[in-house]
């Protein structure tokens, strides 16, 4: 079976919340293969298509979440080498700014980890002060910020300004409802890009990271 067929099969199993089917697909794909290549050719395309389908309204947020969660669990079981340790100053970091609604972060985190990225999870309900402090300590190359409501989205400007000096600052990618409803808002707050969904987040991270994991 070609990698694309396996990715389609994996995608169907994820959308049906069929853990066994998804696991079996990945086990077969992983036999004698390079595990990172399996993550890139089977897992990532499946999650990207599910993310795109959510954007088009063809898949619900619940399906997107459950697919990401199942994928992350199965990848850590079947392809443990893909999932690097997150704790050793990873190049990527993610946080929910000033809000305790963490689903958006969870979706992006699952997709990135399933695609082989190590990500430092700075948590939810994070203040500007704390986020800046963590970035200065860890020095991530890319910082992903999730927001739910407009006031928190506007506070991204403060994060960006405070990270500008001393440099070099991380690339800041934002996401969440305010940025979806106002396509100009990411520029206004000084971010480098906005991702509408987990698939776009992976694309943006790959672009800014230049293939680094």
């Amino acid at each position: 079976m070609a990698a694309d067929d396996r990715a389609r099969s994996f995608e169907r199993a994820l959308l049906a919340m069929d853990r066994v089917g998804a696991r079996d697909t990945l086990l077969v794909a992983a036999e004698g293969a390079d595990t990172l290549a399996v993550a890139e050719s089977v897992v990532a395309p499946a999650l990207e298509r599910i993310g795109d389908d959510w954007e088009r309204g063809a898949v619900s947020l619940a399906q997107l979440y459950m697919a990401g969660r199942i994928a992350e669990q199965i990848v850590s079981e079947v392809l443990p080498q893909v999932r690097p340790a997150d704790g050793e100053r990873p190049l990527l970091a993610i946080a929910v700014l000033e809000d305790h609604h963490a689903l958006g972060k969870r979706l992006v985190l699952s997709a990135l980890r399933s695609s082989g990225h190590a990500v430092a999870d700075y948590g939810h309900g994070v203040t500007v002060e704390r986020l800046v402090q963590r970035c200065r300590e860890d020095g991530p190359r890319v910082l992903l910020i999730s927001t739910l409501m407009l006031p928190a989205a506007l506070r991204v400007r403060e994060v960006v300004d405070r990270l500008a000096l001393p440099g070099p600052p991380p690339v800041v990618i934002v996401g969440g409802a305010p940025f979806r409803l106002d396509p100009e808002l990411w520029r206004e707050v000084g971010a480098d890009a906005a991702g509408a969904n987990s698939a776009e987040a992976i694309e943006l991270v790959d672009r800014f990271m230049g293939g680094a994991r």
């Binding site: 919340m17 309204g57 898949v59 619900s60 947020l61 619940a62 399906q63 979440y65 459950m66 969660r69 000033e98 809000d99 305790h100 609604h101 963490a102 689903l103 969870r106 309900g125 409501m149 407009l150 006031p151 928190a152 506007l154 409802a177 305010p178 409803l181 106002d182 100009e184 808002l185």
Partner: protein, 348 residues
């Protein structure tokens, strides 16, 4: 039609799917009243008297067609003893989920509406609005039993519960339905004209239409049947085009719709069955010029208002605090200018 209707007449006429004197406008402003009173938001929300005074001043200022009795969306969680976080630039939000272990659901009991301080403040606001206004709809609000768990458990834990713990899901719905019905009926008894039934989790943004039929739809049918007044189901920017026929079967009268959906298509789908409420983009509204506000109002009226069954409002059920007064004035003025029936300018 020549005479000026009262706001209540205007709204009731449009709910009857007929054209009133002009398109009703609901400026769903929960926080701007604090500016009118020169208060911070936490102080403003600390007394029902403040909220009532703020609402009355805002209506006098903009001339829109409702008074909004809600304080903030997290008040049911606060009534339950959960953490809420006040901020000075936006809505009061829920904090860490009040249910940390789903097994707590087995012993969960709803808070007493009669003795909860935050619910009492809300009821006080509604009572004053009823006492001090005439012929203006007073809109109360509840978080639907199906959507409240996002704040009770957190979104992830709730989705896990929906799909993996049907026994605890059913138990949580039963408890939440009791609170929702009691809370809605208390607001109606205090003077609310209608209840906003906020149900974003039922939107097709969050669950599939099939999952909705098994979950949020059944909850809404049971709950709305026990609420002793009209309800407006609001998806708080979530999409709903795929469930409109089912939604009409829940007994609701109004649907609050997203700025991301085609208003004209929604109108064709629900004409004569449901009244549309929406769908100005509250996020971009912050940056609108007077000209843009006028253009947005005209576009929404053109798409949704012919034949009645339409109330102009924002798309989320709450206008952000950052939206300037000038924009609200421009929206109100454009509605008065372009919303007058018959909408002859549409044929020009």
């Amino acid at each position: 039609m020549t005479g000026e209707m009262t706001s209540l007449e205007r709204v009731l006429t449009t709910l009857g799917h007929k054209e009133p004197d002009r398109v009703p406008l609901f400026l769903l402003v929960t926080m701007h009243g604090a500016k009118e009173l020169g208060m911070g938001l936490q102080e403003y929300f600390s007394r029902g008297e403040n909220v009532a005074e703020g609402q009355l001043r805002l209506r006098a200022k903009y001339g829109h067609d409702c008074l909004y009795g809600i304080l903030y969306a997290a008040l049911e969680v606060e009534a339950w003893g959960g953490e809420v976080i006040f901020r000075d630039d936006g809505p009061t939000n829920s904090g860490e989920p009040m249910i940390q272990d789903v097994e707590q659901i087995r012993s969960l009991e709803p808070p007493d509406v009669a003795t909860s301080p935050v619910l009492a403040r809300t009821l006080r606001a509604i009572e004053i609005l009823k006492r001090d206004s005439r012929d203006v709809p007073i809109v109360g609000a509840v978080m639907s039993p199906f959507s409240l768990p996002v704040m009770q458990l957190g979104f992830e834990a709730y989705l896990d519960l929906v799909f993996e713990r049907p026994d605890l899901f059913d138990r949580l719905m039963a408890v939440n339905e009791e609170l929702c019905v009691a809370w809605a009926n208390a607001q109606l008894a205090a003077g609310a004209t209608a209840i906003g039934y906020f149900d974003p989790v039922s939107s097709t943004t969050v669950v599939t239409p099939q999952a909705y039929l098994e979950t949020g739809f059944k909850v809404a049918q049971r709950t709305i049947a026990r609420i002793k007044g009209p309800t407006a189901t609001h998806f708080a920017s979530g999409l709903c085009a795929g469930i409109l026929d089912d939604l009409a079967q829940t007994g609701t009268a109004i649907v609050g719709v997203s700025g991301e959906e085609d208003l004209a298509a929604l109108k064709r789908a629900v004409a004569g069955k449901l009244t549309l409420l929406g769908n100005l983009n509250g996020i971009t509204m912050r940056r609108w010029s007077a000209d843009q506000a006028e253009a947005e109002v005209k576009a929404a009226i053109a798409a949704g208002a012919p034949g009645g069954g339409f109330i102009l409002a924002d798309n989320h059920g709450e206008i952000p605090f950052q939206v300037p007064d000038d924009v609200l004035h421009a929206i109100a003025a454009a509605t008065r200018r372009w919303g007058r029936y018959p909408l002859d300018w549409l044929d020009a």
